[in-house]
């Protein structure tokens, strides 16, 4: 069972502008439980494309935020388009700027970098995320197969699948 243990570190600024090291507890508050991932073509689709001799696009690296508040996983819309992922549905969601917006749904493969944790996301919602420094929101649809231990006391979290 692959286990990812992460402890964040961060730098902040004093009022006079000099850099200071922030403790992991603060870093985890600021950034949340984030992991480095790659986003690529969903496994069932990849298998079929390979059978047909169609080359797979290179996976795109990014940052994923584990979002226990989200029912559904989201990926950055621009990355989905760059990978030419097929749109398999359109759903309505509310956002901060729009009461009700139509968003594409994509199948995608999300792999955690450096460890054998991969999520075959069959229905990831495409939303603009990259301008906020993240590329994936890992929602409860994928977390249903995981154990997540959030240790705010020492600024670390552990994810296993």
């Amino acid at each position: 069972m692959p286990i990812l243990h992460t402890q964040l570190t961060a730098q902040g600024q004093t009022p006079d502008g000099s850099a200071i090291h922030l403790p992991s507890t603060i870093a985890l508050i600021q950034r949340g439980p984030i992991v480095q991932v790659t986003i690529g073509v969903e496994q069932n689709i990849a298998q079929q494309l390979l059978l047909q001799g169609i080359p797979l696009p290179q996976p795109v690296p990014g940052i994923a935020l584990i979002d226990t508040g989200a029912t559904s996983t989201c990926i950055d819309e621009a990355i989905a388009q760059k990978l030419k992922l097929p749109v398999v549905d359109v759903v309505s969601i509310a956002s901060a700027s729009h009461a009700d917006s139509k968003q594409n749904v994509y199948p995608a493969l999300i792999e955690v970098v450096g460890i054998a944790i991969k999520f075959n996301a069959l229905r990831a919602i495409g939303v603009p995320l990259a301008n906020q420094g993240i590329h994936v929101l890992i929602g409860r649809d994928l977390l249903q197969i995981c154990t997540l231990f959030y240790n705010g006391m020492i600024g670390s979290f552990t994810l296993s699948i």
């Binding site: 402890q7 950034r31 689709i45 989200a70 969601i93 956002s95 594409n104 939303v127």
Partner: protein
């Protein structure tokens, strides 16, 4: 995107609720391409036929998907930034 497919799904949903409740359907343009037990089977069949083209895959059910994304809905992603930089240390 998928306007024709979504309209076709809505038009036929009441019939399909009787015929294929809980199944996954593939719709391309105004054609029901296939009916499957799982989403994975539907994706595999659709990719085999359409490659990376778009198509609609939906579960046949009365109630539409209940999606809750409070971080996006409320604009809470990093709502209080402090301009920190970060790095991660991982131990497998």
């Amino acid at each position: 995107m998928l306007e024709k497919e979504l309209a076709f799904y809505e038009k036929n949903l009441s019939n399909w609720l009787r015929e294929y409740p809980g199944k996954f359907v593939i719709i391309k343009d105004e054609e029901l391409v296939g009916v499957f037990d799982t989403n994975e089977q539907a994706l595999s069949a659709a990719a085999s036929r359409f490659g990376l083209d778009s198509y609609l895959i939906r579960r046949i059910q009365k109630k539409s998907e209940d999606i809750k994304l409070p971080a996006l809905t409320l604009g809470l992603l990093y709502a209080n930034p402090t301009h920190a930089t970060y790095s991660t240390r991982t131990n497998a």
